[in-house]
């Protein structure tokens, strides 16, 4: 409970504090005086320096002490007040309070009118203070952490607190320590000068990142001695880019060496796998990249809130009208008054009195502006978020994660989404890359066994999933609903699966091996490829038999194994360091050398025809048999220890390829900065000298490694990348002439296979190599070194340098990696479409892949007509758009198609997004059921979302998992990040972060629907409540000469909204549930009510206002007539009015509520009891208090009289009668879908099932009718035999539950 309290308070404050935190200047930015002088770099030297000027500079940098608190002890009250006064609501309150101090207009005692504002300010201040204290405590803890700093005095490393770390200090860290500040890595205990850090604290990624000691640093035998460090470091000013660090280090000898991101240890990361590191601090405290990345919470204004603001304005109008009426009435009344003998003699003119009265009335009727509504909404949203976060259905066991709600104020937007923009990779798919098949040298290896294996995994997972679902469902009393669907899914899978179904999947996998689940690791090799490779290791292997093809194959796997940045480790030994001595190869190296040298020659002599079935000479029969019977047995590499190698890759594709290579016994065994240890079949472990890594970037779309080949000693470049790029680069004019036959053939075949892969929905990568002559390499190396050391535009230079190297490539082959669809994606998409949400898929993949995935996830149905738009020029694009539009229009009129799906490629999208074509594009896409944008860039994605959002004025939702989706997520009304394999950028910029795509279904259909209806109803109720109550006071003005009198004690008046009737609406907004979650999931159509804002239309608002008006009339005039002419005094008259108003307001809520739990009862009864006991006690103890409305004896006397109860009962019944009747009539005569669903919820399970099917059936039929489908078609579409079967299952399920 306390946890929840903490949590909610923190979130509440975030919601409230949004405005301030946005305005809060980024600390540290202005603290460096050098920055203001326009200096673009910072200079860092050792803090041990004697130079005073440099010491001065070092002192100007901010220290490592962090203060995230907003207030200090003294500044709290003024600062907090100041911040709170920035809110409009508070200004309004204070204005009213101040107004009450003006004697001519005051309505109540001044101190009473301060209560609301004091209450609001105090609550907020206490909460701010408490939160700030927590921050302070955590700051203190962090500042007090201890690390080792080199001390000049004592000539050794001494323990110091983090806050005493300064720029230029030398810090020594051991394994598993947290880095206190951004520092440059100067020494690592690792012989190769690397160290590993885990950045989970920073971005949530758990894989290890390699960091390197600054290059060319004079190697010391032992640890680095800070005294001898006289270099000067120049680097850029503090910024928040985690992936960039630029600078250089100048040695005393004036030699410069470039500094990369690779040299920087970031604050709050953890040192792993390295014994000791020493670094020099370059950024400290608030200037560290980690602190610079601490943004405030996201703030978005929801659609409902915008609507609400309009109605608040209407309330203001209403208030002004009422006050004006009273003011004019007062003026007229005064003028008609002959002699005010009984009144206070007054010389003010009636007009001026009227003017004064206007302001008095504003104070009296202030409640009409539902200012407390804003606070209530924030509380309700917090609780809604609490429920969303606690939904057990959003829990992911594998990742041990729940949903994260990062934006706190747009929960109800989830219920109004009209367009969903989805990324493909990692969002619809698992982003678990599994090697599926490959083509080498133009020969395709289909890996059939591998495909079968993947099927088995799928079933395993499905079974596991349904197991848990079933057990959960059976715990429910009314489990038929959920059970029936599980049943069907189980039966579906058991049709295809066999014995493996019994296996239960391992429940929890260690988080660290996220990329190496068994599915990804155990790749079943293709037998033909194995045969070919075995030639190498077979004793009968003869050089002359070795074809060119074999060299291709070996090179291909070599590339797979080494062309990456995978970190190798094993549980018992943290890092596989390359042993200096390589074992004796099994085969005579000379033979193999010759083989590779022959390949290295530019001319290709022989051409082995593809798929010439070489007789498996090298195999004995037994081996062959074994291979086919039990392919899995072959794959693990020879030694058992190697089995435990763990590959940690930056991207899952890389891991997949390394695992694939390993399946063919080309095992990457270790990696260091300069060396790679690779085991090749038949050759044993080989150490490969690593010369360069040209990392992957999205412009080049490829990565390369430059190595010295262990056998030939040549410099070889291995490149892997997107097929489009590699295919172009491999096609060199010179190469084309020379290698006319072989390469051309390979290219042709590979392209064919690639197209096939894409059609299958596989991700393709091409592998190529290039042999460099040493002179070529030397020339390139010089320019590359220059690029590496330059500070300014180094990225461009490096890019250019890489491009220079990656030319004239020899195509080796290509791989097809399968990225399986996440579970329940088709179901989710179908449900969203039934809910009236348009789903667009925006992907960077190829068109074929995209269409394929769209088919697989049922975005594209077989009956859909596919429209593809690919064009090269704007004119063509325009013509195409028009043409497609007419086609769609024709198609809409015609029969037979159920919808259109538009497929646009990135190039066309560029044209379509231009100003003059976007109208046509939108018009076209609006008529399509789904749109797939392929080959689109991140920027295009966000442009598309923006276009749809702004032009069509619809609610958009973007969902994605990678950095390339960030802009789209930020642009959309609701951004959802999938916390998956690709880091946390998407999650960091999202409003909600989920772990699977399927969670979107419940998030939108259930929580979205609930949040929206709850909030909308609560807001309406708030307006109603205020108008109803305030009007009572207004009517009284007609009987007191419009003098601003009230017939209620002013405390009761103030508390009526603040205390007596504030809790029930909150509960209503948090817990009300119009339809059960199961039904909402099963009938996605119910979502449409939220999309169309059914719960909160302007008409609903005005209807509610009218009802409030009526109720206030009844509530005032029944007591009026009952007491007219009697001896009742003001307060005795007000007492039954107040009491019946309370009863009406509470019972009104009971009528409006769709669910009443014991909590509701508790709060409702509690509120009523609170009111009555408060007034009773007040009327007994308050002797002279609260003049002029002293309540002494009033309520006590009233409540002892039967007339009081008679009036209350009549008033309450008459006031609620119309609404009660209205609900009953509407629900009987034309019930809404939501109500029908709610009625279904109340049925017994058997009827429920039957009704559900009936609904779905009529749904399908009505859809069919709408599209005028032939009757014959309809008969095929909705086969009758399916329904009874489901019904049977459903019945069986219920039966088992009941029995």
């Amino acid at each position: 409970m306390e946890e929840w309290l903490n949590w909610s308070l923190r979130h509440l404050s975030l919601g409230l504090g949004v405005m301030y935190s946005l305005e809060r200047p980024v600390q540290g930015q202005s603290s460096c005086p050098k920055d203001r002088l326009g200096r673009k770099r910072r200079t860092v030297v050792s803090s041990l320096t004697e130079d005073e000027e440099l010491t001065e500079i070092l002192k100007s940098y901010s220290s490592n002490k962090v203060t995230t608190t907003k207030y200090s002890f003294l500044s709290f009250i003024p600062k907090n007040l100041f911040e709170q006064l920035h809110r409009f609501a508070n200004i309004y309150f204070i204005f009213l309070a101040a107004l009450n101090f003006v004697p001519v207009v005051n309505a109540f005692q001044p101190e009473i009118s301060i209560i609301p504002i004091l209450l609001v300010l105090a609550v907020t201040a206490v909460k701010d203070l408490w939160e700030d204290y927590r921050k302070h405590k955590s700051d203190k803890f962090i500042n007090g952490l201890v690390c080792e700093i080199y001390s000049r005095k004592r000539q050794m490393y001494v323990d110091q607190r983090w806050q005493d770390v300064h720029v230029g200090d030398f810090v020594r860290l051991s394994c598993n320590e947290i880095i206190p500040a951004d520092m440059l890595l100067l020494y690592s205990s690792d012989p190769h000068g690397v160290c590993y850090i885990e950045t989970a604290n920073l971005d949530g990624e758990t894989n290890l990142k390699q960091r390197q000691v600054v290059r060319d640093l004079p190697r010391q035998g032992s640890e680095l001695t800070p005294e001898n460090f006289h270099s000067r470091i120049e680097c850029e000013n503090p910024n928040n880019d985690l992936s960039r660090f630029r600078g250089f280090m100048e040695y005393p000898s004036k030699a410069r060496v470039g500094l990369h991101n690779n040299n920087l240890l970031l604050r709050s990361c953890t040192i792993r796998n390295t014994e000791t590191v020493i670094g020099i601090v370059v950024y400290a405290g608030h200037e560290t990249k980690a602190m610079k990345n601490n943004n405030g919470p996201r703030y978005k204004r929801s659609k409902l809130e915008r609507r609400l603001n309009v109605d608040v304005l209407w309330s203001v109008v209403l208030l002004v009208i009422m006050c004006l009426t009273a003011a004019i009435g007062h003026g007229l009344w005064l003028r008609n008054l002959k002699d005010t003998s009984f009144l206070i003699p007054d010389t003010t003119s009636p007009a001026l009195s009227g003017f004064y009265l206007f302001w008095t009335m504003i104070i009296v009727l202030q409640v009409l502006i539902p200012i407390s509504l804003y606070v209530s909404i924030e509380i309700v949203k917090l609780c809604q978020i609490f429920f969303i976060q606690n939904d057990v259905d959003f829990y992911n066991e594998y990742m041990d994660s729940r949903i994260q709600c990062r934006a706190l104020n747009i929960t109800e937007d989830l219920g109004q989404i009209q367009y969903v923009f989805s990324d493909k990779t990692g969002t619809l798919t698992e982003n678990k890359m599994v090697f599926r098949r490959c083509t080498i040298a133009g020969v395709e290896y289909p890996h059939e066994e591998n495909a079968r294996r993947l099927e088995v995994y799928k079933e395993d997972e499905a079974m596991g999933c349904s197991h848990t679902l079933k057990s959960r469902a059976s715990a429910k009393s009314l489990s038929c609903k959920s059970l029936s669907c599980n049943r069907s899914s189980v039966s579906l899978h058991t049709l295809t699966g066999h014995s493996e179904g019994e296996e239960s999947p391992s429940p929890t996998l260690p988080q660290h091996s996220a990329f190496s689940s068994p599915m990804e690791k155990d790749i079943v090799p293709d037998p033909f490829l194995v045969q070919k490779l075995n030639c190498l290791s077979s004793p009968l292997f003869l050089l002359r038999d070795a074809s060119m093809e074999l060299t291709y194959i070996v090179d291909f796997f070599m590339a797979l194994a080494i062309c990456n940045t995978v970190v190798v480790s094993s549980p018992n030994q943290p890092r596989h360091v390359v042993p200096e001595v390589s074992r004796t190869p099994l085969k005579s190296l000379e033979d193999i050398k010759m083989l590779f040298q022959r390949f290295g020659l530019p001319r290709f002599s022989t051409l082995s025809p593809p798929h010439t079935t070489e007789s498996p000479r090298s195999f004995t029969r037994e081996e062959d048999k074994m291979l086919h019977l039990n392919p899995g047995a072959w794959s693990p590499p020879s030694e058992p220890g190697a089995d435990e190698l763990i590959y940690e890759a930056e991207s899952p594709d890389e891991a997949a390829l390394v695992h694939a290579a390993r399946a063919y016994r080309c095992t990457l065994q270790g990696r260091s900065l300069e060396r790679l240890l690779v085991e090749l079949p038949g050759m044993g472990s080989l150490a490969v000298r690593l010369l360069h890594i040209l990392p992957f970037d999205s412009t080049r779309k490829r990565m390369s490694v430059v190595v010295r080949h262990p056998l030939t000693n040549q410099v070889v470049v291995y490149t892997k990348g997107a097929d489009s790029v590699i295919m172009d680069l491999a096609e060199s004019p010179k190469g084309a002439e020379q290698s006319d036959g072989r390469q051309g053939h390979i290219r042709e075949q590979t392209q064919k296979h690639l197209d096939n892969y894409a059609r299958e929905g596989l991700r393709t990568l091409c592998i190529a190599k290039k042999v460099q002559t040493s002179t070529e390499y030397d020339i390139w190396l010089k320019r590359h070194a220059f690029a590496e050391t330059s500070i300014e535009n180094r990225e461009e230079l490096l890019l250019e340098s890489a491009q220079r190297l990656e030319t004239n490539l020899t195509l080796l082959g290509a791989t097809g990696i399968v990225d399986r669809l996440q579970e329940e994606v088709p179901e989710t998409i179908e449900a969203l479409q039934r809910a009236g949400v348009k789903v667009w898929v925006l992907t960077g993949d190829k068109q074929e892949t995209a269409i394929n995935i769209a088919c697989a996830c049922k975005l594209l149905r077989t009956t859909d007509q596919l429209l593809t738009a690919n064009c090269d020029s704007k004119e063509a694009c325009k013509a195409l758009l028009l043409e497609l539009r007419t086609e769609v229009e024709r198609g809409e009129a015609a029969e037979g198609t159920s919808g259109f799906t538009l497929v646009v490629d990135g190039h066309t999208l560029d044209f379509a997004l231009q100003e003059d074509l976007k109208g046509d594009f939108l018009e076209l896409s609006r008529r399509c059921r789904a749109v797939v944008c392929c080959r689109s860039t991140p920027l295009q994605k966000s442009h598309v979302v923006q276009l749809v959002r702004d032009q069509l004025r619809v609610m958009t939702l973007a969902i994605g998992d990678g950095a390339n989706d960030v802009s789209m997520i930020q642009v959309a009304d609701v951004g959802i990040g999938i916390s998956g394999q690709e880091g946390m950028q998407a999650v960091m910029s999202s409003d909600f972060a989920i772990s699977r795509f399927k969670h979107l279904r419940k998030l939108l259909l259930v929580h979205g629907h609930w949040c929206y209806t709850r909030l909308a109803n609560m807001i309406l109720y708030f307006f109603y409540k205020n108008v109803m109550y305030v009007n009572l006071l207004f009517w009284y003005q007609f009987f007191c000469g419009f003098s601003g009198s009230v017939m209620t004690n002013s405390w009761v008046l103030i508390f009526f909204n603040l205390l007596f009737t504030s809790a029930p609406p909150l509960l209503y907004g948090i817990l009300d549930k119009d339809v059960s979650a199961d039904t909402l999931i099963k009938l996605p159509e119910l979502y449409k009510s939220g999309q169309n804002s059914k719960a909160y239309l302007p008409s609903t608002f005005w209807l509610t206002m009218l009802d409030a008006l009526y109720q206030s009339l009844v509530c005032f005039f029944i007591p009026y007539f009952a007491y007219a002419g009697s001896d009742a005094d003001m307060l005795s008259f007000g007492s039954p009015i107040n009491a019946s108003a309370l009863l009406i307001i509470l019972l009104h809520q009971v009528i409006e509520s769709r669910t009443l739990t014991w909590l509701h009862v508790l709060v409702l009864v509690g509120s009523a009891l609170f009111y009555f006991s408060f007034t009773l006690v007040f009327s007994v103890v308050c002797v002279t208090c609260s003049p002029p409305t002293n309540p002494l004896g009033v309520d006590k006397l009233q409540m002892s009289q039967p007339l009081f109860y008679g009036v209350c009962a009549l008033t309450t019944v008459l006031a609620l009668l119309p609404r009660f009747l209205f609900h009953a009539l509407r629900n009987s005569i034309s019930p809404s879908d939501t109500l029908k669903a709610a009625l279904m919820d109340q049925l017994n399970p058997d009827n429920y099932c039957r009704r559900m099917q009936h609904w779905n059936q009529t749904q399908a039929q009505s859809k069919a009718r709408g599209l005028i489908i032939n009757v014959e078609d309809l008969d095929i579409k909705i086969p009758d035999f399916i329904l009874p079967k489901e019904l049977k299952e459903c019945r069986a399920a219920t039966g088992s539950v009941l029995s």
């Binding site: 429920f387 001896d1127 002494l1192 006397l1197 008679g1206």
Partner: protein, 367 residues
Amino acid sequence: MMASNYNAKEEDGHQPAAIGHGGAGTVKNKKPDNTAFKQQRLPAWQPILTAGTVLPAFFVIGLIFIPIGIGLFVTSNNIKELEVTSQLIVPCYNCSQSYSWNSTKPCTCSVPFSLDQPFESNVFMYYGLSNFYQNHRRYVKSRDDSQLNGDKASLKSPSKECEPYRTSDEKPIAPCGAIANSLFNDTLELYYIDPNGSRTAIPLVKKGIAWWTDKHVKFRNPGGNDNLTVVFQGTSKPVNWRKSVYELDPSDPDNNGFINEDFIVWMRTAALPTFRKLYRIIHKKPNMTPTLPLGRYILEVTYNYPVRSFEGRKRMILSTISWMGGKNPFLGIAYITVGSVCFFLGIVLLIIHHKYGNRNHSADIRS
């Protein structure tokens, strides 16, 4: 959000000793509790208002309200009430025309009236005023409750709210304020005219007309009830009053000063501009004779209170009361009406239920 997250993570990161790949065991499970509350599955009553379900409610309301209404109506009819408007009678009309606050000589007049039926049980005698806005905001405010509660400090320096009836002749006014200043000061006397023509004064009891709490808690004389003259020394009487507050009822120290019941009744400001206030009680006689037998009566009015200036009217009301207060047929009629409407609506709903109720069970959905 980020800030706190980041800090929290750092704290977390520092504590667990198990680091590395084997650390999975120590990780806390984040799975939400599968409780009915957190999963929003609390057992709930779902009231769905349809014609079928609300039908009984309407009939029940009808069946309850109509008898109550009849009861109230009958009770109200049994209450005997007589209203005498004094201005209609010539002598009093003259008084009202000529009289003002400044007049020194009281004007007396007598109003004859007759009772058609005898009043049994206690009879309450009210005076009524109309068009008198005792609920005007500035009027209502113009009093000092602590002064009236016997606070000596307030006696000497009354609240500012009493302005301009706070001081007169540099002396504090007790009781201060506009309400006290405008105290109703007519004297009403009731005489029964015997058939033989002789006048019998009807005993009017002037105690017991104020609320018990007002008389005993809210209103107190400063320094108890003794020697009010001394206590109120140094204060001035309200400008419109003829006598000081300690001379309101010199005969009865328990009804003098601030605790004079006529004063207390006046100080309880009426809710509406037409109101009545309890003036005297005519107690039931111990024997079987009616409190007020039928016949002719004379109301003697000592006319002190001017109402003509604001077009007000004065009335005298004689009424018996019942458990539901004075005579008021409205509530009874309203109950009967609402009850009948509910009954009628119940029938309408019954028809609707028969017509639409069955359709409801087919879950067809509007396309």
